[in-house]
C-alpha cells in the first residue's frame, strides 16, 4: 500500500503554546483516517500544515510522497480542503463560486463550467445553482464548500470538522458523499469531535491530546483498549444496587461498577447477548425489578474518556475560542 499522508515528528508552537509536540501517523491511499481530539489538541494545526497553510517548526509532513514545506505548490495541485467555515463567497451564486475556483485551478473556462455543473448536480445543488449563497442553508453551504474542494479532483482531501453545526439529516448526507468519494479512491483525513462520525466513516483513527498522539488504530482496536461488552442494568428501586451487584457476580468478566445517580449496575461481560438473558433471570430470582437493561459495546466516547480522563463532549478550549461555535447542533 502506498502512503497518501506521512507525518513524523511534527512540531508547531504558537508563542508559548505548544500546539504539536512531535506527532507521527500515516494514512494509506484510498482510506479515511479520523483525527480525533478535543479543541486545542492539535487537529486543526495538523491539517493546516498538511494543507500548506501553516509551516511546521520541526518534523516532516508529506502528501503523496511530496514534502509540504519544500514543495507546497506541487502539494496544492493534489489536495482539497474543507475547513470549519464554508469557504465560499457570500455574494456570488453557487455556480459562480465553483467556476471561480475552477478557473483558479487553471481549468479552461469551458472545463470550469462543465465541472461546476457536474458538481452542482452531484451535490444536489442544481436547483439553487444560480441563487446567491446568502440564501443557502447551512447544509447547502457545506455541500457547496465540499464541492469547491473537489474542483481539481484531489487525490487527498482534508475535511476539518465537515459536519460541525449541521442537523442530523445533513450530516448523514455528508457522510454518504464522503463514503462515495473514498469508494472512488480518494484519501480522506477527517478531523472531528463527533466520535460516532469517526466510528462510522474512518477505517483508522488517530487520537490527539495536548499536541501528542495518545492512541491510534482501527475503531475496534481502540475500543478493545477500553474493554469489551458490558451489560447495563437500571433498577427500579435504588437501594437494591448492592444486592443486584452480588446477584450478578457470576456473569461478570471483571469488576462490576455501580452508578448511584442513575441507579445503574454495569457488568463487564464476555457472554454477548446471552449475558442479558442471564442477568434478567438472576435478578428475577432475587426479585429485583428492572427499569431498563441493555448490552452496550464501548463507543469511541468511552475510548476517549479512558484515554484522556475526560469526555470529548465537555472539553475546554485550550488555545483560543473560535470565531464560531464549533459545537453546533450537537449541544
Amino acid at each position: 500500500m502506498t502512503l497518501a499522508i506521512e507525518v513524523s515528528g511534527l512540531q508547531k508552537s504558537f508563542g508559548e503554546v505548544q500546539a504539536l509536540r512531535g506527532i507521527d501517523f500515516t494514512v494509506e491511499q484510498g482510506t479515511i483516517v479520523g483525527l480525533l481530539g478535543p479543541n486545542g489538541s492539535g487537529k486543526t494545526t495538523t491539517v493546516r500544515i498538511l494543507a500548506t497553510l501553516l509551516k511546521a517548526d520541526a518534523g516532516i509532513a508529506k502528501v503523496a510522497g511530496i514534502d509540504v514545506s519544500s514543495s507546497p505548490d506541487q502539494v496544492r495541485t493534489m489536495i482539497g480542503l474543507t475547513g470549519q467555515y464554508a469557504a465560499v463567497d457570500e455574494y456570488l451564486t453557487g455556480r459562480e463560486n465553483l467556476q471561480l475556483f475552477g478557473q483558479l485551478f487553471h481549468l479552461s473556462k469551458k472545463q470550469a463550467a462543465q465541472r461546476a455543473d457536474e458538481l452542482l448536480t452531484r451535490f444536489d445543488l442544481a436547483d439553487a445553482a444560480d441563487r446567491g449563497i446568502k440564501g443557502y442553508s447551512g447544509g447547502m453551504r457545506r455541500r457547496l464548500d465540499l464541492a469547491a474542494s473537489l474542483i481539481g479532483r484531489p487525490s487527498v482531501l482534508f475535511l476539518d470538522e465537515p459536519t460541525t453545526g449541521l442537523d442530523p439529516r445533513s450530516r448523514l448526507g455528508m457522510w454518504e458523499v464522503i463514503e462515495s468519494l473514498v469508494a472512488q479512491g480518494t484519501t480522506v483525513l477527517l478531523t472531528t469531535q463527533y466520535l460516532e462520525e469517526a466510528d462510522q466513516l474512518a477505517s483508522r483513527s488517530v487520537v490527539l491530546d495536548h499536541g501528542s498522539v495518545i492512541a491510534q488504530g482501527t475503531s475496534d482496536e481502540l475500543k478493545s483498549q477500553v474493554g469489551g461488552d458490558r451489560v447495563e442494568v437500571v433498577l427500579e428501586i435504588p437501594n437494591q444496587l448492592a444486592q443486584a451487584k452480588a446477584a450478578l457476580s457470576s456473569i461478570a468478566s471483571g469488576e462490576i461498577n455501580i452508578n448511584e445517580d442513575q441507579h445503574k449496575v454495569i457488568i463487564p461481560t464476555s457472554g454477548g447477548s446471552r449475558s442479558v438473558v442471564e442477568a434478567v433471570r438472576l435478578l428475577d430470582e432475587v426479585q429485583i425489578s428492572i427499569a431498563d437493561i441493555a448490552l452496550r459495546r464501548p463507543t469511541l466516547d468511552d475510548v476517549f474518556l479512558s484515554l484522556t480522563g475526560r469526555s470529548a463532549e465537555d472539553e475546554k478550549s485550550e488555545v483560543k475560542p473560535k470565531q464560531r461555535s464549533r459545537r453546533g447542533a450537537r449541544a
Binding site: 500546539a19 497553510l53 470565531q323
Partner: protein, 282 residues
C-alpha cells in the same frame, strides 16, 4: 488515484498570474454589482465633503484672495487626494472578512500564484475608486471646478490619482491582513487617514497653519498629491513657496505612490502567505 490523474500540474507562468488575477478581480467586481450600496456609500462621502466645504466652511477659509469660486477650484483636487487616501478603507474590511471566513485559506490551498489573490482584489478596488473619481469629477464640474491646464497634464493628473489609489489599496490589504476582525479593520483602515488628510493642504493652505506643523504638512504625501493635482489641472495654488515639496510636487507625489507600492505590495503578499485564521493561533 495517482498524481498524474489530477487536473493540473503546477506551472508558475506569467500567464497564470494574469488569469488568476483576472478571475479574482472579476469576483470582486461582481460583488460590487451585487451590493451596489457599498459603491453608493463610497461615493456619498467625497461628494458630501465637496458640498460641505464648498458651501459651508469654504467662506471661512482664507486663500489670500479669489473668493468662493477660487476656493472651490482649490478644493476639488484636494478632495481627489482625500478620496484616494480613503481607497485604503475600500479594501481593508473585505480582506479581513475573507481571511476570517476561510475563503482566503481556500485560495491559499489552491495552486495559484500567491500575488494573484491580493492583485485581483486591489485591481477591483482600483476599479471602484476610478468610478468614484469620475463621479467626483462630475460633481466638481457642477460646483464650478474646471480643468484649466493642458490635456496631457490632466491625463498625468488622473494617472497620478489612479497610481496613488492603487498604492493605497495595497496598504489597505496589508493592514487588513493584520486585523483580527472586520470591525477592527474598519476602524484601523480609517483612523490614521483623518489626521493625515486634515494636516495637509487639502482644505486649507499650509501657510495658515502653526509653524511647527507646516514642515510636516508640506511633506505629507496627501499635500504633495493635492498640490500636484492642482498644478496638473491648472487650479489655484495660493501661497506657493519655494520649498522642495512645493516646487517638485508632481514627481514627489509619483515617487510617494511608487514607494508605497514597492514597500507594501511585497509586505502584503508575504502577510497573505503566512496569515493564520483570524491572525491568531489555530
Amino acid at each position: 488515484m495517482t498524481t498524474s490523474e489530477t487536473a493540473t500540474k503546477y506551472r508558475p507562468t506569467l500567464g497564470w498570474l494574469i488569469s488568476d488575477t483576472t478571475a479574482v478581480a472579476k469576483r470582486h467586481i461582481l460583488k460590487i454589482t451585487r451590493v451596489p450600496e457599498s459603491l453608493f456609500f463610497a461615493l456619498i462621502q467625497p461628494v458630501m465633503f465637496v458640498l460641505l466645504f464648498a458651501f459651508v466652511f469654504g467662506g471661512a477659509i482664507n486663500l489670500g484672495g479669489g473668493g468662493a469660486s477660487a476656493y472651490r477650484e482649490y478644493l476639488i483636487p484636494g478632495i481627489f487626494a482625500q478620496t484616494v487616501m480613503f481607497a485604503v478603507a475600500s479594501i481593508t474590511v473585505g480582506i479581513t472578512e475573507d481571511a476570517n471566513r476561510g475563503i482566503m485559506d481556500r485560495f491559499r490551498s489552491l495552486p495559484m500564484r500567491p500575488g494573484a489573490v491580493l492583485g485581483g482584489h486591489t485591481l477591483a478596488s482600483l476599479f471602484q475608486n476610478i468610478l468614484v473619481l469620475i463621479i467626483l469629477s462630475i460633481t466638481g464640474l457642477l460646483v464650478g471646478w474646471r480643468i484649466r491646464g493642458s490635456v496631457a497634464d490632466a491625463l498625468l493628473g488622473y494617472l497620478l490619482l489612479a497610481t496613488f489609489a492603487y498604492a493605497m489599496t495595497w496598504i489597505g490589504a496589508w493592514i487588513g491582513l493584520h486585523m483580527p476582525s472586520p470591525e477592527v479593520a474598519g476602524t484601523a483602515g480609517l483612523a490614521w487617514i483623518f489626521p493625515l488628510t486634515f494636516a495637509s493642504n487639502v482644505f486649507t493652505p499650509i501657510a495658515t497653519m502653526p509653524s511647527w506643523l507646516q514642515p510636516i504638512a508640506l511633506w505629507n504625501p496627501v499635500s504633495c498629491l493635492a498640490l500636484a493635482c492642482r498644478k496638473l489641472f491648472g487650479n489655484p495654488v495660493p501661497f506657493l513657496g519655494d520649498s522642495f515639496p512645493e516646487q517638485h510636487a508632481v514627481p514627489l507625489a509619483y515617487g510617494y505612490a511608487l514607494l508605497f507600492l514597492a514597500i507594501f505590495a511585497p509586505l502584503a503578499v508575504r502577510a497573505f502567505k503566512t496569515r493564520n485564521v483570524g491572525g491568531l493561533k489555530a
